[in-house]
Symmetry: D3
Subunit: 287 residues, 6 copies
């Protein structure tokens, strides 16, 4: 009986080198994908985040929520229109988008983490006008309406909360200089927040295992390899923008971007606290 | 020409005694009523709040939003049911309630204040599990569903933000010990927040001039008079719960409760910074 | 009746952009001239300063007091002698000078501000040996006695007091390395204090409207224009040294020097908090 | 393969409730017994301590080292004399005692912890005159020489180091008011340090499983039960003084004393981070 | 040659116990008497004060200056009038008094200390409205004019300066609630300042050796003895008010009052740093 | 009688300029030589150090203890072997070395200082892994065993203690990257500690008067002269390594190295607090 418990203690200690390495480190985690609809996984995710906080890291969560937005638009009898994969966002769509992201998903993530013993605080880019944002310019000048990009992030509020023991949870909604609400891509926002905070680590929780090549997971890529991959035809359409965000982050202060499957049990802990990791890690080496 | 400007300077200086008196004071303001739908008034309210912050006070805003909830329920084809003036709140109603309060109205107030030059941050009672709340017990044990009352407020998060220059804006949504979302009366929440913060001043922005007697405004009431009024038949049905909240707050740390008409231009400044005030002030004298 | 009060509130809010812009700014104000003998104006000046402090600025007052020195010399049967507009200062004159400046005028200004609700503290350049000073060298090597110039200002004491909520009031008396008391030009001292503090704003309260050209007030000058004016014959004898001090300050950290008529009611507030200003503003543009 | 790693993550999370409960808690650990001579166990102990520090606790180590003292006395041709289990300590014995405790064992523990990634600092009761100590008074007034008891502990130094991220390691040597070095019982010292620090938890690492009754381990005792046991004949001679120290600590601020077998692998982690624990826990309940 | 220097080092070390005992202690010193006119003694006094500051004490200086006031009144052709030893102070006398105390003597003491290497800052009771003061009530209701007593001292400013390394030098001038300048007894003020600061030590520098009995110095008195002496006929008229101030201070937080001859070389150091002391020490024992 | 005491006060004041000059300065003092065996001198040394601390300096003590190591090796029947003046240090020798240095001499110095009223804390290079150290490389690759050199010093621990009022006392024992204990030259260590701390002053207490030339003490040398001397044949074998250490320190942040006779009474005070000094001072001038 002792032996079983001793083995548990040994596993705790296996995590020690990682705990030491990441002590005091800020880690931005993009929460998203089908993880959001798997009740059990949500609880695991929350517990993982609380553990990170208690062992001395500063996790910051960013989320979007496209599917839920579509579901509520449908409920309200409004048809979703997409151009090049981007939701055309008229005023009414924006109203619904914000209610879903900031009023529903955000609160849900906050409550999950608090239920797991953390002290999460929900934010959006509107709070303290944290994001400088502007309407996105599409290549063919298509009018997408209130779809925006973050031009910079004022991280003062995040740092105040993080240093005081809170876990910031940020929805991907912002506001333009002249007060127009904007919906933004959460992967983009996560990269911008990581750069603003000078974080060394950025984690994307997705629905896929990571970046694949011929049906095999690529466990690691350096900056040069990732750049090459971006320009190759083998990269999937869905992964391309995520890879672009990753390279943007790595071009700045971020040392490692992890693209992992959020629906794997305890995906975050596995990636950070075990030797092998579970998805694709892209490093800033060779940039 | 000089003279006109000199007169302006004199008015600035008339405010000095009030600025001094309230310097460093925390003031909880319940934002609500038809003020919420008057565009011009909203901007005035926001400017007033920013001025309070800049001259050294710590304003904290609390809001509800019953009408807007009803409007969205209707849009979604859901019928609002009321018992004793309280909205019966099933799970779906709660979902809509939270989306409207935390995802729409809260962001709107935050953005208004930020547009006016402040740094507002939106919160709900769920953030950092700020409110301890439980299901409301009705007199006749009617099941109202997810309607709650605040039992206590952990003001750590509000103070962290307030001391760091931010203006907290709080929606009246909370969560029970076992994780059930609860809709709460915003007047109640404002009183609880004021008590938690040890605030000396609580302001209710309403749709009426103040407390009336025979069509005349009662400019001032002490604790004893207000208690007597509460038990008299002359008090209107709508004012009664507000008066109860006021007395609850005055029984604690609050020295003055102001019940004023939010749709008066610059109602907050008038009440705080001019000698006469515009609504009813209830003091803790005689308690 | 409401309307009148509402108009007052609007005027308060007109000041908001200025309050925001100057929040946390250090402003050095040279107090002087006939303002010193107008009882009502003194009280206005004091109230203005207290308001500046309460809305978040850090006013620092510098004063001289030539006329009052002359009055006391006369009382003591001592004849004032001037060379090139500078008072020849023997030991006895210096003794009287210091008694008048540090023992009379300084205390008066301190008490005025405290009476208006501020917390002023009187200082001279001798306190904590704040000023490094030396005997002034005149062009023709005329011996002026204990007349000095400030070579540098150690602003530690001013900052300690200012940060702790006090308003420093500084008389233009200093001491040389070898312990000789020196009387200094207060305009000079104000510029040196502003430079030492890295202040962005320096205000000279004078007896004239500002810098005049052909009987008209020049409302604004940039650095180049002011330099040119200094070398032109049109500049009045009295304004020349003040213009020299201004340019000295603008050559350093100061962005704006205001030369205004101190006997205008609420001159300081008018200049800082209204759009037009009342005197001449010289900016560092074009330097 | 995933599954194995996922199981590891789950074990990490099993520790979360304990990590939360003990976050910021000071824990005094008496290191001793045969643990000191088992190389592999020493490394485990050190790793355990470092983990405690990294997950937010403040471990403080106290040690003695009787066997090693005897070994060095023998090497130096000096015979150890014991009276009632206490080493008679003449000046030469004290000299050796201190060299062994503070110059050998202490450094060894410090280096072990540092090798495991912590930042340990070695101390004795002489440093900053941390211990107030005096010669022990024996019942029959036998002269034991330089054997002492701690009368109080000035914990300022321990707190300075602990708050700054260091792990204090303290040898059980002290000094009397008049400067005489004193050897003290390390169990005693551990209790005194725990009381001085207001610690809630005190752990004795011993060579036995815990407190036994009829060859069975007693897993838990409350204060009343432990007091009764102390006065019963069943308590072993070796456990009696340890039980006395425990009760002394529990009579003060300490809530739990753990008597556990230090030679069990990862004894400290098992006791603190698993539900069952491995030795005897005495609680302050029922005192 | 060595030996002489070694003897000097020994003397330095003789002071060590006193330095330790008084480390961090606040000491209020009333500077006054004929000391003020002995150039050499002044320099010694200043050097003594700087030494106190550098070895870790917080000296605070209080001074009056009656003789110098009289001298200037005479110069201005104004006759001094005394009633019961108190100067009748009309408006003009007050004006001169303040100029002499705050504008002359205060600056002189400040400069002396700064010349000796300290960082002194001159204050009066008007600064930051430090003294609450009111017109003195005489026994026979004689109108003494602007003669006042301190009712309380707000020591915030003194502490801010003292903690920041400055040496406060305070003249005995104050201001009433309604803004009237008041001249106060400096012995009184020194006691009030000591009580406000919670000082343990108060030193009166006088022109006499201390309290005498039959031409012999009384080296020490406890509270009871001093009280008895106050009521006995042997106490001299000049010493009586000083003894009253002493007892007032001792009735509060002050442990020791020293009445010493300021014109003895290095009187302050002798009293504080040598075993015997030079004047009369009154202790709070027996109160 | 007064006069004698007054002369003492004057001597106290003679030290004032030195106290001022060294206020807040960090001074590293290498304690060693025969001073260690002269009981009376030890007490003087301790009193000197405590005085330095109380008058505002930050003394840091470094010591070795070769003679005492030899004495204990002999007691244990172990023969000391030296190569080029360096002790060949096998594992057993290292064990004894550390017990003597960290367990005996270090505690003795700590206790001496504490007995004199200071708050000393004993450290070695192992504490918090303060020294980065490696095995010394001899010229002829002779294997000296566990003899090391300091490559860098992490002074965080020293500064934490020093700033908190403690006096660090450091033995010259360290540890290599891979955990091997190393004995180091204390003169070397003192220089490395001084450089790590950015100290301006380094004092070597030795058994000789200072650096001699033709039987005469050289009172002062600049960097160039000292370099020249190092390469001249006149430098004694014993002084050469000390001179090398001195030049190493002076090449960095140290301004003055003092080589003085520790057995002179109050050597440290004499050197620091009297005009002439007693040994050789080497300055960084001319480097």
């Amino acid at each position: 009986m002792y032996q079983e418990r001793i083995n548990k203690a040994k596993i705790l200690l296996e995590a020690l080198p990682y705990i030491k390495r990441f002590h005091g480190a800020t880690i931005v985690i993009k929460y998203g994908g089908s993880l959001m609809v798997q009740e059990e996984r949500k609880g695991m995710f929350a517990a993982d985040i609380v553990l990170l906080k208690y062992v001395g890291m500063n996790p910051v969560i960013v989320h979007g929520g496209g599917k839920e937005i579509s579901r509520w638009m449908e409920k309200l009898g409004k048809k979703a229109v997409f151009v090049d994969g981007l939701r055309v966002t008229d005023a009414e769509t924006m109203e619904i988008t914000e209610m879903v992201l900031s009023g529903k998903i955000n609160n849900e993530v906050v409550s999950l983490i608090n239920q797991a013993g953390g002290r999460a605080v929900g934010l959006s880019g509107k709070d303290a006008r944290m994001f400088r944002a502007e309407r996105m310019k599409t290549e063919k000048d298509r009018d997408l309406g209130q779809v925006g990009t973050v031009t910079s992030v004022d991280v003062g509020l995040i740092e105040t909360l993080s240093n005081d023991g809170y876990i910031p949870v940020i929805s991907s909604v912002g506001i333009s200089e002249d007060g127009e609400s904007l919906n933004m891509n959460a992967d983009d926002v996560a990269a911008a927040v990581a750069l603003g905070l000078g974080a060394k680590k950025l984690v994307y929780l997705t629905d896929v295992q990571g970046i694949m090549k011929d049906d095999n997971l690529i466990p690691a890529l350096d900056y040069a390899e990732a750049t090459e991959l971006l320009n190759s035809p083998t990269i999937s359409g869905g992964m391309k923008p995520k890879l672009e965000c990753s390279l943007h982050a790595l071009a700045g202060t971020v040392d490692n971007v992890h693209i992992i499957n959020g629906s794997v049990e305890h995906a975050v802990l596995l990636e950070l606290f075990t030797d092998i990791g579970i998805g694709t890690m892209i490093t800033s080496d060779g940039k």
